[in-house]
């Protein structure tokens, strides 16, 4: 067993365990924290596969900003431990069956199509450089980039509009 494989397997186990914790935890705050762990593990995988900028972005944006927002809302609403009683009796078994089916089919598809001998490449200088990413973003992908910025703006405005307290009716 090579070092690389060992590192990968460790990270994979962490990620899967964290995901399981996310799903199974009764406390919403714990779920959020498990998700952060998952994000961190995946970020390290990105690092290994030669995408250090994305790895750091994953940590700062996902694990940092977004998950903080989650925690903030959970605590704001005081919704750490809502009661969850399943009323739809077919929901739970079907979820497992279908989720399992997709899993089996996905893994089957991969293993039959992707040869086990094909391995990842060592991190390349050029692809790891944020400069390369930046040039691509501002040249080839400039239009999607602009659209993404508009989406963010709309989301920001939307969030403000949605959470604004409705004004009380002035004496009708």
């Amino acid at each position: 067993m090579t070092t690389g494989l060992f590192v990968f397997l460790t990270l994979a186990i962490i990620a899967i365990t964290a995901a399981a914790g996310l799903i199974l935890s009764r406390n919403t705050v714990y779920s959020a924290l498990f998700l952060i762990i998952n994000f961190l593990a995946v970020a390290v995988l990105y690092l290994i596969m030669g995408a250090p900028f994305i790895a750091l972005a994953q940590i700062t944006i996902y694990a940092g900003a977004i998950m903080v927002l989650f925690l903030f809302v959970i605590m704001l609403l005081g919704a750490e431990k809502p009661k969850e009683i399943e009323q739809m009796k077919w929901q739970r078994p079907l979820a497992f069956v279908l989720g399992g089916a997709i899993l089996v089919e996905g893994v089957y598809a991969l293993l039959t199509r992707v040869s086990i001998t094909v391995t990842t490449n060592p991190a390349s200088e050029i692809l790891a450089d944020p400069k390369t990413l930046g040039i691509s973003l501002y040249t080839k992908y400039s239009l999607p980039f602009e659209i993404a910025s508009v989406i963010l703006l709309v989301a920001a405005i939307g969030a403000v509009v949605l959470t604004r307290m409705p004004k009380k009716d002035k004496g009708q």
């Binding site: 990620a15 995408a51 893994v107 293993l111 391995t119 992908y141």
Partner: protein
């Protein structure tokens, strides 16, 4: 140097866990987090193939996915807050007014 099938299988596993979590949980915020988990699995696939083909486009795509996810979370959580104000709950099964 690991076979690229391994991170891809990991992505499939994470994605399916996201699906199952989405279907099992009734807490709207957890459901949201499951969505993020699925995004994450997709991102992992992008990075793996970016590495495999030695191109930058995969990484660019991940940037866009993150952007959209951030936007979605911002709006989604705002919705949660609003719904919680009216229903005093974030149980997704209680949001069932739109039905035939």
């Amino acid at each position: 140097m690991i076979p690229i099938a391994y991170p891809l299988v990991l992505a499939v596993i994470l994605f399916c866990m996201g699906i199952v979590g989405f279907l099992l949980r009734k807490n709207a915020i957890v459901i949201f987090m499951c969505l993020e988990l699925m995004f994450n699995a997709a991102n992992l696939v992008f990075i793996t193939f970016a590495n495999h083909y030695q191109v930058i486009d995969g990484q660019v795509f991940v940037v866009f996915v993150m952007t959209v996810a951030a936007a979605e979370v911002a709006v989604g959580l705002a919705l949660m807050v609003t719904i919680f104000r009216t229903k005093q709950s974030i149980d997704i099964d209680q949001m069932n007014s739109l039905k035939g």
